[in-house]
Subunit: 308 residues, 2 copies
């Protein structure tokens, strides 16, 4: 590293800003709660379908239900045994599709392997698909170029939350080079599309990418969504880059107070010294995902009220 | 440019290969004709809808109909006045959706501005949407990661043709850095997805990209689909890069034999001196688009026969 970039680094260092996803999400949830409180008798409702007893899925589902309650959104829980049949699940979804108390239907993923995840996700009515995973909504996102909060369909919660964080942090995207690590249907690929729609230049890198560090080093904005603990190091970053860390990885901490800790896909300490803005883990993207789920449920409700 | 890259350039120069889209397309069309000839009585049928009298659209439609005939595919032409109503067009599509002689329906774009292009494209039954523009097929492509010729749905003809050219030219894509210029629904964006599905690292650049030359200069494979005559110069390319030129631009040739000539988005003469493989214009991607239309029509026919 040359001395001039060292200088740039230390200058930026001074200004390095933590993107406080927890605080931003809290403000959004408060705003949603106020909007819901101001509604007439009828309130938005979210149905949450959980299959099996994975502890992480149970934790997420509980967090989602609690978040609904605190925003005044009615939550309906449907918990099934690991062994539930495809038919029973599809019947449940069909009933919820027709239930006018329900404006959002969430199927907690992953499903056990004997179930056909695609078929089940497709069975959710597109208007109630608050996760944005139904083909109708997937296609709508590919063809949409407006503002992400004005889309007349649901956009997957995690990439939507990342866009809100970038906007709230006043990160200019037009013409910026954004490198997205990961190409999943849930995060990486929709994120790439959302950045492109905001006129960013977008590169998608993944496990088969050669010289991944060199690619990341060019980025004005890095979005890491690969699920590999602390993979992106500070010296992979261009000084002043903005870092959005989607990863939530559990790593063992032998001898620590707790037996494990949660870390992102970015090596936070070394990255913080180089980035201009960075999301922590936990407290960055994670809280935004839940805030966006409430937001998508309210938006679904509002669209359905207009229709009737 | 350093002398070592000059050397590399002249070495590669010697080996620079023209990707002969015309010849590759001819072989594919011959193969399709043989498959169609071997069919029992029932043959694949393609309906082509043309609105108005744009000379370029008329030329394309005529080429498509002739290509059908020469392959033994039945073509049904539906030519409408510039002033046709949306209702009449939608009725026509509905009839064709139900007509079991028709396995592909193509609406020649662009449509006059009083027509709602989205609604008309959505009205085509997904199984007969040989252009791959129906939301069902758009979503299917985003979620598909298999081989492009094995997809159980239609992929837009031009990017599909580009994939075939790359495969037939033995261009390795896994881990290769592919830079796509342009982000259209018809070419750029589906091309990016198709390259990603082949494990390439993909960058999408466009009119808002800063330092576009620097981005292109990193590419192992360049796909140019911006519609700007001869924009990409030879010195924008990494020596040995593979160049796929999707552009078909008409430029005036004052004092020439003809009043205009067709050129690509790439400055062919300067690019040919640097690239390892390159498609000419005309005779590169253009003929492949039509070959892929026939191929998609035959594939639709085959899928429908299986269903019945």
């Amino acid at each position: 590293m040359t001395s001039s970039t060292e200088e740039a680094k230390s200058e930026l260092n001074a200004a390095s800003q933590i993107i406080d996803g927890k605080a931003i999400a809290a403000r959004i949830r408060q705003d949603i709660a106020q909007q819901v409180a101001a509604l007439a008798e009828k309130k938005p409702g979210l149905a949450v379908i959980l299959v099996g007893s994975r502890p992480d899925s149970q934790t997420y589902v509980n967090m989602k239900k609690k978040a609904c309650e605190s925003a005044g959104i009615v939550s309906f829980g449907f918990d099934f045994d690991e062994t539930v049949t495809q038919e029973v699940l599809l019947e449940t979804v069909q009933k919820l599709n027709q239930d006018d108390r329900v404006h959002g239907i969430l199927v907690q993923l992953p499903l056990p392997s004997h179930l056909d995840q695609d078929t089940i996700l497709k069975s959710v009515h597109p208007d109630k698909d608050v996760d944005g995973l139904h083909p109708t909504n997937v296609a709508a996102l590919q063809m949409y170029s407006g503002h992400f909060l004005e889309a007349p369909f649901s956009i997957p919660c995690t990439p939507l939350g990342c866009c809100v964080l970038l906007e709230q942090s006043a990160v200019p995207l037009r013409g910026a080079h954004c490198v997205v690590l990961g190409r999943s249907q849930l995060v990486g690929w929709p994120m790439a599309r959302l950045l492109l729609a905001q006129d960013a230049t977008v590169t998608v890198v993944h496990s088969k990418t050669r010289n991944i560090e060199d690619m990341v080093r060019q980025a004005d904005v890095v979005v890491a969504a690969v699920g590999r603990a602390q993979m992106v190091k500070g010296d992979w970053l261009k000084p002043g880059a903005v870092v959005i860390d989607v990863g939530i990885n559990s790593v063992d901490t032998p001898g620590g107070k707790k037996p494990y800790k949660l870390v992102g896909d970015v090596d936070y300490d070394s990255a913080k010294a180089v980035a201009s803005k960075i999301t922590p883990v936990p407290g960055g993207v994670g809280p935004m995902t839940i805030a966006m789920l409430l937001r998508n449920t309210l938006a679904s409700f509002q669209r359905m009220q207009k229709q009737t």
